[in-house]
Symmetry: C2
Subunit: 262 residues, 2 copies
């Protein structure tokens, strides 16, 4: 019996999210079908994060186990060759892990990335991969607001209805970084949010992003973040940012050490 950990990248645009659903194209469903053919037995995948429709992943992780012949190191190439027709999902790595290791329960945290393009004519080619905002954003104000989200808080105000009710709505954001960049020959301004935490409530990153964008637009002050968190009320936070700007970047299975990453 082998237990295998996969690292998976996908463009979420044409998927109805990660989780298998009948009659819908989902990442889990697509991978399970191909893995079952490659392994010669029915495979069930457990992913770390159930990303929503339209959300992307650079480093989703998932485990599965079975009693199959194919060497683990050959799984990425075998699966990717069978997936290649559409080309919007790929297995990046596969490694054998101890029998009791589970991509979801062993996760200690995650980093999400959110991309915002602003202050320019919309780019039709970027429409599913960033949030396009047709006005200037005050980056310093967004940074000040971001710092107030960091730490351990009750994030109930940043949780959308519709997910499973969690045992607790207290989470820790280890770091929420706001980076500005200017990209391409036209030097188009982007803001990238990098959010690392021990766990995230339903739509939490997208609601935090929506709140920070409202701060960047001058619609609310950075200090308002404290009142949002204290309210424990979804209606006090900003709008939910669209899914296409969100990327699951990394899953941590060790304690998270916040230092000077690249």
């Amino acid at each position: 019996m082998k237990n295998v950990l996969l690292k998976i990248a996908y463009d979420g645009t044409d998927f109805h999210g990660w989780q298998r659903q009948p009659n819908c194209r989902t990442v889990q469903g697509e991978l399970e079908e191909v893995l079952s053919r490659v392994c010669g037995e029915a495979i069930a995948l457990s992913g770390t994060s159930r990303t929503d429709a339209g959300v992307h992943a650079l480093g989703q992780q998932a485990t599965f186990s079975g009693d199959f012949g194919i060497p683990v190191e050959r799984i990425p190439l075998a699966v990717n060759n069978m997936l290649d027709r559409v080309g919007d999902v790929r297995i990046v790595e596969a490694s054998e892990v101890p029998e009791d290791f589970h991509a979801r329960f062993n996760s200690r945290g995650k980093t999400y990335r959110y991309r915002i393009r602003y202050g320019a004519e919309p780019d039709i080619f970027a429409r599913n991969h960033c949030w396009q905002i047709p006005r200037e954003l005050d980056i310093e104000a967004m940074k000040a607001g971001a710092r107030l989200f960091e730490g351990t808080h009750d994030f109930r105000s940043c949780m959308a209805a519709g997910g499973q009710e969690p045992e607790t709505t207290v989470r820790t954001i280890h770091k929420l970084e706001v980076r500005q960049s200017f990209e391409g020959t036209d030097r188009i301004p982007f803001v990238t949010l990098l959010v690392t935490g021990d766990g995230f409530l339903y739509n939490m990153v997208r609601i935090i992003t929506g709140t920070l964008v409202e701060i960047g637009m001058g619609l609310r002050a950075p200090e308002d973040v404290t009142a949002v968190l204290e309210s424990c009320s979804r209606s006090r936070a900003g709008r939910t940012a669209p899914p296409g700007g969100l990327y699951l970047q990394q899953v941590y299975f060790e304690d998270i050490v916040i230092g000077e990453e690249k």
Copy 2:
């Protein structure tokens, strides 16, 4: 009676090409429907180029005429607001032109751009917007081959079956530029072909691109281009490059002057 020239940009990924077809989402069909609503009368568009399914445009041009009330300069905003749901097509400019001006018959030439990403793991997010080639390309060889395509030739060997038989297969390529660039924080290598000519046969740019890529891979010598052209045989040229790397960049209505453009 007004005659209007539009400049149009689109991401061709989710369109069955430019040309209106029943029961298919096409750029012409989508724009005619919205223009008809904006103008309050049935609008028929004439586009300069009938781009294929999956091919993109930064500067497609099209004319239409009618006896409508909306000021021409308001057309882009009005149409774009009604198109915004999907967001993969936009009117960039609209201007009134003389009554006998026609986007197709008045065109003196076009520039197409073809993007190739090479020598790296495929990027799932770029799959519909460039041709991804998993090996090194010899750029100097491609430049040498490109020079042999320039000028006035019978391009029959670079014409796919399936289009209308043209009166002549002689065309002039004013310039075929091969540019290398290194993009993003990972400095991924790209090659961009910029092809300017007085007119193009069916799939001509994609067949020229396929031939130059085979030269870049070392599968044929740059000098082979001369033999390809002289053969007048489609089977002597390279494979047809995929549609997603191709962009209609610019249409010329004046004589083309090849100088040092940006």
